[in-house]
Symmetry: C2
Subunit: 347 residues, 2 copies
């Protein structure tokens, strides 16, 4: 294997990890963690609500602390690391982005569903105008075929993005699928290619190495696996693995191990393991937000919530189509018993 460039890591524990702490980060926690990450020489630290700028809401979970205060806190202690923000058009606004840039965020990551890059145009252009390094973030990348992803990556490049990421939001991709996706967009675009993994199928690290082998040079990690679902590629482990492979990251491994053990592990609400729920989400390839809906529907119709989630995955149901969950539960119940009545009616 040969590697063209240094790998640049973005630490997402203060953004994707926000899900793992129910968006309860405090200024003090963010200050402590960002300071340690800066000392370990992490290139980029992402700080926002788990669902990006403006994510704090009843729908996505209310943040304990205004994310702008958290961004300011991270900026204040980072003289090496650049602070990144995530923005999902439709959740965050151009105004949020401008405010983040004003208080010192240097990188904007504009995230859309893998087939909807076109809604990122204005945001990517604004981020570039604001002088930010800009990333196009193609979420749920397991849901589209390679050709579609290539088309969407080209769109993001055309809007001015400096990097395009393949994002395995559900932790559903297998190594060969990662290879095919990274290889194809590497051939189609001339900007940086990145990869963001989730560990629901225990493949975050394996998939990350497959992505690097195919030429991805921007990689997301979360210290102590602090991310949604089963967490992301564990940053301190990734740095150790890359070191063993002779790939330089410029990051201080011991400092990173120490902040994981001595700081981050203390604020975790529960360990980041692969349990029945996270495995089911990765296996089915669906949004984690479907889980609770599926469990409720499963109870109502006396079916297994896993069967519902797997069926939703097969039908490629996306966010906004939650109504389908009850329909699928009813169908499964009918198939099972010959009637589609909620269980409360049949007992």
């Amino acid at each position: 294997m040969t590697f063209e460039k240094e790998i640049k890591i973005t630490e997402v524990a203060l953004r994707d990890g926000s899900h793992a702490v129910s968006h309860q980060y405090t200024v003090e926690q963010v200050t402590t963690i960002a300071k340690a990450l800066n000392e370990a020489r992490i290139p980029y630290i992402e700080v926002t609500h788990g669902d990006g700028l403006g994510g704090s809401s009843l729908q996505y979970g209310l943040s304990k602390t205004d994310e702008m205060k958290l961004i300011e806190a991270a900026v204040a202690v980072s003289d090496f690391s650049k602070i990144a923000v995530l923005l999902l058009p439709g959740i965050g606004t151009i105004e949020d982005l401008k405010q983040a840039a004003k208080i010192g965020a240097k990188m904007a990551r504009i995230a859309t569903h893998v087939t909807e890059a076109d809604i990122a145009k204005q945001h990517i252009e604004t981020a570039k105008d604001l002088g930010m390094e800009t990333v196009g973030f193609l979420m749920m990348s397991h849901m589209a075929p390679v050709e579609k992803i290539v088309e969407q990556a080209k769109l993001m490049e055309s809007y001015g993005a400096d990097t395009v990421y393949i994002v395995d939001s559900a932790g559903a991709l297998l190594p060969d699928q990662v290879r095919a996706r990274i290889k194809a967009i590497r051939q189609a675009i001339s900007i940086n290619v990145g990869f963001h993994a989730h560990n629901n199928l225990s493949l975050a690290m394996g998939n990350t190495l497959a992505a690097i082998e195919e030429g991805a040079t921007r990689i997301d990690g979360s210290i102590r696996c602090l991310g949604a679902g089963a967490g992301n590629t564990q940053t301190e482990v990734l740095v150790a693995v890359l070191d063993r492979m002779g790939i330089q990251t410029g990051i201080d491994l011991y400092k990173l191990m120490d902040v994981s053990e001595d700081v981050v592990s203390q604020i975790l609400q529960k360990p980041q393991i692969i349990n029945r729920d996270s495995l089911t989400l990765g296996y089915a390839g669906v949004y984690s937000s479907f889980l609770l809906h599926a469990k409720r529907a499963a109870e109502k119709f006396s079916v297994d919530s896993r069967d519902i989630l797997i069926e939703l995955g097969k039908r490629k149901i996306v966010g906004g189509q939650e109504d389908m969950i009850v329909d699928v539960a009813a169908e499964l119940s009918k198939k099972k018993s010959g009637s589609a009545c909620p269980s409360t009616y049949t007992t």
Copy 2:
């Protein structure tokens, strides 16, 4: 990718996982877990002390329950699954093996350091004479070059083993190293090839898929990651991944997920995560038993225990050479300060 055969999984939570519960398994726990694994149609269930037959000792940790009672309990509830036992010549004896066979164990896995297959001859031959399916288990396989491993695998085949395993005891191998090892022994021997991973570098699943890609057909997994260090390839996740790849295992995924969530998670003393210690062991590529020694020596000589472990890995120190740990600590201290005095003398 094409796959020649069905993958046969050996569940090691009741053996390797014995480390994770400090060898405190009870007859009731083993009965409950083995019964559920049998119902899920796991082909092989390994049951012994974490260090194999006869492992219960002050040196390796005393078992709460006589392992023969645990084997009997597992045999009693398994009409589908075959019960396997691990034996390390020097720890377990031929008599232990005969007793295990007498009470119903159907598979013997004879484990040696990767360069010491010759000490397994008598045990493999005896196991075959007892009518057991027999596996040669090459431990710490990251410590020997490919040619050496091929030579050792051939020895085990010549003694009559039905299968030879590449065992990544320290969780130190990278996917390309796994591929090279499996490929080479597949070409050199005509019996089954197996792979046993540890997750210290978050690569248990990635390495397992690499092994399968190169033709390994026998794979070890531990439910809920219940194994030494950071645990093994998580069985229920492996079954889900193989299913997604179209590889049949004959195992009931939902039943396996349920026993993981409802039974095994309850008896775990701590979650199986990758922490500073397990990461260091995988990065250094050393025995987990070195950890405590290294920490003591580090304190005495005021050096970082990680530096000691990494140096031990570089020198390929193996079990039985624990004296070297203090020597290495003294050398590192000398290099650091110009003197090799224990810190208690220099303060």
